[in-house]
């Protein structure tokens, strides 16, 4: 039997796993704070005011902002792309290399966008 072609899945799986860890470890706290308590006005602090937030993201030479974006936006995006891609297979909805390109492509594009915006913020002065 000839050997099957090596799959490129390890790349996506590694991103998926890293994103999965972030989703499980960083997201519950983040969603709770930013998506629920803050809008409800239950976090009555100044940290989330425009100026303070900006300086928080810029702190540590901007690494704080980059880390936040990486862990809470980019990696989870790849996690989601992976699951959606395989979900299309599970639901027999046009799973193909085109949808693969679309899923991971979108994740990559949105990640770039997030990083671009973050850098913009960090470098803004």
């Amino acid at each position: 039997m000839s050997s099957p072609k090596r799959s490129d899945e390890p790349v996506w799986w590694a991103l998926f796993s890293a994103g999965g860890v972030c989703f499980a470890v960083f997201l519950p706290g983040s969603i709770l704070a930013l998506g629920i308590l803050w809008p409800l006005g239950l976090l009555n602090s100044s940290v989330l005011q425009y100026a303070q937030l900006l300086s928080l993201l810029q702190s540590g030479y901007g690494l704080t902002g980059l880390a936040f974006t990486g862990a809470v936006i980019c990696l989870p995006l790849f996690h989601a792309a992976h699951r959606i891609h395989h979900g299309l297979h599970d639901l027999k909805c046009g799973y193909s290399s085109a949808t693969k390109l679309l899923c991971y492509g979108l994740a990559a594009a949105l990640s770039m966008l997030a990083l671009y915006l973050t850098l913009h913020l960090i470098l803004a002065d």
Binding site: S3, S7, E9, A14, H89, D90
Partner: protein, 238 residues
């Protein structure tokens, strides 16, 4: 003795175009297994009922069927645990040859594909040494009875019959983890393919139904880690 209602899926390739359910009433007590019930039907009601069995003690792996939609060993599933109609169908995802008998060719091909034997260049006559700790690394994965239940539980195999599937990948891990084996390099190409370890999305039901508690899902996903490592190594090779 209580009367149990069995709905058995029948399929006669020489007359039917598709399977149908047939109802049988079977007497049973607290020791009657699904296999006993099926044999009762075969002996007393309908000799044409087709099924596989042999050891009736959950070790030969012949008697897998779907009981109310869940893959089970007929000889290790008891009527006493069911209270209304019991639907018995052939193992899911395999082609049905007749009644409860499925075509296992693909399953065997997948097992063979991963080279399930020790590969090394040892030519001595002395025993290999292997400590209990080394043995424990793979022992659990060597307990597979090849019943195929995990394939019926795995939707990925159902969607893609080329997927090597839980038992075969577990078997590959069993040999890869054996301290006497050097054959990992020969086995990895199968695991590295899209139908190898990467065909799995960790549904995990395979481990739930495994009658020998091998945790094939763990084996398959450990194989992913191995394949990922292999991927990285391959990038540094010409």
């Amino acid at each position: 003795m209580t009367d149990y209602q069995l709905l058995i899926q029948r399929y006669d390739p020489e007359h039917d175009n598709e399977p149908r359910l047939q109802r049988f009433t079977v007497p049973g007590d607290h020791t009657t297994s699904v296999l006993d019930a099926l044999l009762y039907v075969q002996q007393k009601r309908d000799v044409t009922l087709g099924l596989r069995w042999s050891c009736r003690m959950a070790i030969c792996g012949s008697c897998g069927v779907m009981v109310n939609g869940i893959p089970k060993l007929g000889c290790k599933t008891f009527l006493r645990d069911y209270h209304s109609d019991i639907t018995i169908e052939p193992l899911a995802h395999f082609a049905v040859e007749k009644d409860l008998i499925v075509d296992m060719t693909q399953f065997l091909a997948h097992l063979s594909a991963i080279k399930p034997y020790l590969i090394n260049d040892y030519s001595g006559t002395a025993l290999h040494k292997q400590t209990p700790t080394q043995l424990a690394k793979y022992q659990q994965f060597s307990n597979c009875i090849n019943c195929g239940l995990c394939y019926s539980a795995c939707p990925q195999f159902g969607l893609n019959p080329e997927f090597l599937g839980p038992a075969a990948i577990t078997l590959a891990q069993r040999y890869n983890l054996d301290s006497r084996d050097n054959g990992k390099a020969a086995r990895m190409p199968q695991l590295n393919g899209k139908n190898g370890a990467w065909g799995c999305t960790f549904v995990g039901f395979c481990s739930d139904v495994c009658p020998k508690q091998l945790d094939p899902a763990a084996a398959v996903n450990q194989a992913k880690v191995e394949s990922a490592k292999d991927f990285i190594i391959s990038m540094f090779k010409p």
